[in-house]
Amino acid sequence: MIDTGLPESLEELARLRQGMYRVFAAAFLEPEPDRIRDIVAGTEMLEAMGLPYLAFYREWSRWRDAAVAAAGDPRGLRVEYVRMFATGIGGAISPPTESFYGADPIRGEVGEVLAELRAAYDRYRLAPTDAVADTLDHVSIELEVMAALCAREADSRSAANDRRLELTIGHQREFLDRHLGVWLPHFVARMSAAETVAFYAELGPAVASFVRHDAGVVRFLERSVMEPSR
């Protein structure tokens, strides 16, 4: 049997997905040198978990190479981060927040998007810690939410808690269908239209490709928990 490094159980698969979401979440935070080093270490660890056998590998590997290269120049990355995502400096090119894509600020729907998210996080029993400086609809927060739901799925599987497992997978599906999976493609399209350094240019397609793939995985997981014989 060839060792692919791929997860051997659905619990391990959930851990792999958690790791992917976490690495991508970190990539959308300010590129501190330590953070970039952690990201590179994270990509190496994930890479060994059978990523070449998953369809998003092409986009992922391009971004991983860009991350390794960027680790040598974190300063340049910080300038670009501010230019790409931060509001107020020459206008944000690609605002990394759901409300920008899913709301009309003039009609005041930004609040509606945030309220919906707050309600969703309450339902999922997730609350941001004090360390969270971004708004609840920031892409890295939404990616972290998915990471947390994957971690909960893994825990439920290891504890054989079927009720919690079903609920958690339902939450993952809901969150991708109503939030992250809906606006991320628009955000990434905007990122792709902007001229930027390789780290951010490759990050968009990588995260979009992974999230699209994961939506298919979640659908499958949902079907499998609903079939009692399995």
């Binding site: 060839i2 692919t4 791929l6 997860p7 051997e8 159980s9 659905l10 619990e11 391990e12 698969l13 059978g50 070449p52 056998y53 998953l54 369809a55 998003f56 590998y57 092409r58 986009e59 590997s61 599987r157 054989a160 397609p205 979009a208 490709s209 699209r212 793939h213 298919g216 995985v217 659908r219 499958f220 499998s224 928990v225 399995r230």
Partner: protein
């Protein structure tokens, strides 16, 4: 650029000019050896059926930076001669070279049937197949087209308020939508007409003897090689329209095979669709004076000589009418009519048509078009593009008076005429601003409907536009 062959079972190594051919022993059991091998870009692979795992192979190709969906796999289900391998390899390489590239939107993961709730099938490696994607800029759904939705056997497509939505989870990636779409908006990047044409042409060119092309379903169990016959993989043989079934003959093959992947009945009914279309294609061949004997379910040893060449006029869409006309050309037939295929001849009756242009606004294939020439409305039709969907007739407000009719048939005489004007109509102009009011025929129709009592009103609306009244 290279072709990689598993050297097990004493497999002969084909010779392809201009392509590096690399034989690797044990490749089927360990596709990972592809990663370490010193090779140029991998374009196609030849492996032994039932001895390799597609997921492993896809992972190895990805590690090499290749797009696994674009690398054809020739499956050998028995001993093959060197000439056979050479011809099959030439086809696979040509198919790869015509691959338009795939994106994340095309990758559909295939989950194994059996899965325990906590164990992940001792996780076998996931496999991906190519699913279709819709290009919304060319989709005619907002004109009311829903041909793909109606044809989809799995309910993966939905039409809602002028938009088609697609659910990859429900999709079985059969490709039926791609061959049904009259605008080319729905495509599967691994089975485009461009790729299949390139493969068939390369096979025909590489072979010294007449060839038969056997379309093979992606999921069918590979059959042992038969001399003179070459497999061409499609997502599902149910996607083969009459145009697709006839295309190999147009491209120079002598015979076609189009088996269903199952003998016990496809649960989606795609085998029945194929059966109907095979019958229609056979009727066309008979009508054109060739023989339906060129069209088999499975490959037969004897392959007749190819027909004359009609491929020159054969384009990218492989519509039923296009294939019919190309075959008629190849067989020098200029007068034949056959009631088969998705095609039609539209006629407009100038006496009852009001030139409202509703028909042209709903035609998904743009077979019917309208334009303005010197202020006159010109409605034109190109029977080559007509898919016989009947949307024009269903929409015409004057259909009860016979303003538009559709005859579902293929007619060489009509097809050779190409696009032509089927209705010219004058437009009444406003006596004040000189702008257009409405087609004169429509105003006449209103006059006849309202009768003499309201003649004054009709006179007014016939002379002045809405703004100047």
């Amino acid at each position: 650029m290279s072709l990689v062959v598993c050297a097990d079972h004493d497999t002969p190594i084909p010779t392809i000019p201009g392509t590096e051919v690399v034989a690797i022993a044990g490749l089927c059991g360990d596709p990972g050896s592809l990663v370490a091998a010193e090779l140029a870009e991998v374009e196609a692979v030849m492996l032994h059926a039932g001895e390799f795992d597609r997921g492993f192979l896809q992972g190895a190709l990805r590690k090499r930076g290749a797009d696994p969906l674009g690398v054809p796999v020739v499956e050998l289900a028995g001993p093959a001669t060197e000439p056979w391998l050479t011809v099959a390899a030439a086809g696979a390489l040509a198919r790869h070279r015509a691959f338009p590239g795939s994106g994340p939107e095309h990758a559909k993961m295939r989950w194994p049937e059996l899965l325990s709730r906590r164990r992940l099938f001792a996780m076998t490696v996931p496999q991906y197949i190519a699913a279709p994607a819709i290009d919304r800029t060319t989709c005619a759904a907002e004109r009311g087209c829903r041909l793909c939705v109606d044809a989809c056997p799995s309910g993966a497509l939905r039409w809602d308020a002028g938009q088609v939505s697609y659910d990859m989870d429900l999709c079985v990636a059969c490709g039926i939508c791609t061959t049904t779409c009259p605008t080319g908006a729905t495509t599967n990047p691994t089975a485009t007409t461009g790729q299949v044409a390139a493969q068939i042409r390369a096979i025909v060119e590489a072979s010294d003897v007449p060839v038969g092309i056997e379309y093979r379903c992606r999921d069918a169990v590979a059959a042992p090689p038969v001399d003179g016959w070459f497999p061409v993989e499609v997502p599902c043989t149910g996607m083969l329209t009459v145009g697709w079934l006839l295309a190999p003959l147009v491209l120079g093959a002598g015979a076609i095979g189009a088996p269903s992947c199952t003998d016990i009945g496809c649960e989606l009914g795609n085998d029945l669709v194929l059966k109907e279309r095979r019958k229609a294609a056979g009727a066309i061949l008979d009508e054109l004076g060739s023989t339906a004997e060129r069209l088999h379910r499975r490959s037969r040893p004897m392959v007749p000589d190819p027909l004359g060449s009609g491929a020159g006029a054969f384009g990218e869409s492989w519509g039923d009418a296009e294939a019919f006309l190309a075959l008629a050309d190849a067989l020098s037939v200029d007068d034949a009519v056959v009631e088969a295929g998705s095609a039609g001849v539209v006629a407009i009756d100038a006496a009852t048509c009001t030139a409202c242009e509703q028909c042209t606004s709903v035609c998904p294939s743009t077979a019917l078009r309208s334009g303005r020439i010197d202020g006159e409305i010109e409605i034109t039709v190109d029977p080559l593009l007509c898919v016989g969907c009947g949307a024009c007739v269903a929409t015409c407000p004057e259909r009860a008076h016979g303003a538009i009719t559709l005859e579902r048939c293929l007619d060489v005489a009509e097809l050779v005429l190409g696009r032509r004007t089927v209705r010219s109509a004058t437009t009444a102009t406003c006596e004040v601003c000189r702008g257009p009011i409405a087609p004169s025929a429509m105003l006449e129709r209103i006059r006849s409907m309202l009768g003499p009592d309201l003649a004054g009103t009709v006179d007014l609306i016939s002379r002045r536009c809405l703004n100047c009244r």
